[in-house]
Amino acid sequence: MREIKASDVTRAVARLCQEVNLELGEDVLKALEQARRKEESPLGGWVLGQIVDNARISSEERLPLCQDCGTAVVMLELGQDAHVVGGDLYAAVEEGVRQGYGEGFLRKSMVKQPFSARVNTKDNTPAVIYTEIVSGDKLKITVMAKGGGAENMSRLFMLSPSQGRQGVMESVTRAVDEAGSNPCPPIIVGVGIGGTPEKAMLLAKRSLLRPVGEPNPDAEVAALERELLEKINGLGIGPQGLGGRVTALAVHVEVFPAHIASLPVGVNIQCHSARHKETVL
């Protein structure tokens, strides 16, 4: 049994919270540069230029990429031969979020009793934590900073199996069309097909962790991704909704088997400020 110190988990989470909010991934920057070359709308091109400049200023001046530093979504893959010592694993994660958002001058956006008092917890906790037990003796920690504007545009469709592929195409496109300018396009569209309602949403969220534009290894799913991207970019919404060719940088689809009666489709929208990073302890 390999031992992993809870204090190391805290430090890793604190560091990741700060890094994701200050440094856009190379894959995202590359996709934005490509979008800038492709965009025909002058205003859309101007928007993409501002977004690329923003990333440079953020990294140089240690200013968060976006003032909405997000809900801290923390995904853990814990090896079954690893043993966390010196404290509770989830408490260690929460402490990491607390330290990272404090030390990093990041905005704290979590409110408790969301249906009534909505009082800020002042340290951006609690994180939203998902854990998977995997083989091995390591702990992989992924931190996503997920902004409210894009999360609010996410959707779940419980389709009838008879609606099939066409139903999936229509539902995902409708979700993006109705979201319009709200989720800060150009977006990345995360889609989860199959499982149960919450499984489909989680598949959609996990698909956003793929490098931007990397296709699903299954050829049929990859074809669906390409077709969806073309349809979505034909909507005309464009960067920030001002009109243009680039509404989405990519569509990522993950698939899981479903019940004979079900065809769940989860859509989790990611704004252009796609912030996530991982580390392995």
Binding site: E40, S41, P42, L43, W46, V47, Q50, I51, D53, N54, I57, S58, E61, R62, L63, P64, L65, C66, Q67, D68, C69, F105, L106, R107, K108, S109, R118, N120, K122, G147, G148, G149, N152, G180, S181, N182, C184, K231, G234, L235, G236, I237, G238, Q240, G241, L242, G243, G244, R245, C271, H272, S273
Partner: protein, 186 residues
């Protein structure tokens, strides 16, 4: 693309009439920040017949809640938040004299009608460009609801703050016009 128009805030009513959906502007002057929680309190105060914590007449509102400033910085990251959440309150504030609003994302029909009725304008700044936008903010002071933290009302002094006209006083809507222009039938 035409060169950006330079505007002074508070905006001149006649100048607002001349703005068109799609115009790029650079704003210099005073903005007041207010987002969800502040809107709720301002409208509650108005409903009780109380005076709002700052003069609304003629002013420009910016839907924004910044990240904390590091030592030596005026403000942290400071980009716009989604405007639609303020739709329920906006017609009331326009009736109180607010002339310009900066946010991002589409507005309800009631808000668009109200913008036209009161000769106001709705502009968007680039969402997710909060580090870049913060460079246009030269001064930031909390003027009301300090307990709301990031959601407190701040008076900002800005120079060449970049924005785009979305809904103009004549009913123009860039989100609709821009989309229609680049839409491919499918």
């Amino acid at each position: 693309m035409a060169a950006a128009l330079r505007l002074r805030s508070p905006l001149d009513s006649k100048e607002i009439q001349g703005l068109k959906a799609g115009d790029q502007v650079l704003i210099t002057g005073t903005l007041y920040t207010a987002r969800d929680a502040a809107h709720k309190r301002i409208v509650e105060a108005l409903d009780k017949g109380k005076v709002p914590p700052f003069e609304l007449d003629g002013q420009t509102l910016y839907y924004m809640g910044p990240s904390p400033a590091r030592p030596g910085q005026v403000i942290g990251s400071a980009g716009p938040t989604t405007s639609g959440r303020m739709d329920a309150y906006t017609p009331r504030l326009l009736a109180e004299g607010v002339k310009a609003i900066i946010g991002k994302g589409k507005r309800s029909q009631a808000v668009k009608d109200s913008i036209k009725k009161h000769g106001a304008v709705y502009l968007a700044a680039v969402g997710g460009a909060g580090a870049l936008i913060s460079k246009a903010i030269k001064k930031a002071d909390v003027v009301a609801y300090e307990d709301l933290g990031a959601e407190a009302v701040r008076r900002l002094e800005v120079v060449d703050f970049p924005a785009i006209v979305i809904n103009d006083a004549r009913g123009g809507d860039l989100y609709e016009e821009g989309k229609a222009k680049y839409h491919r039938g499918n």
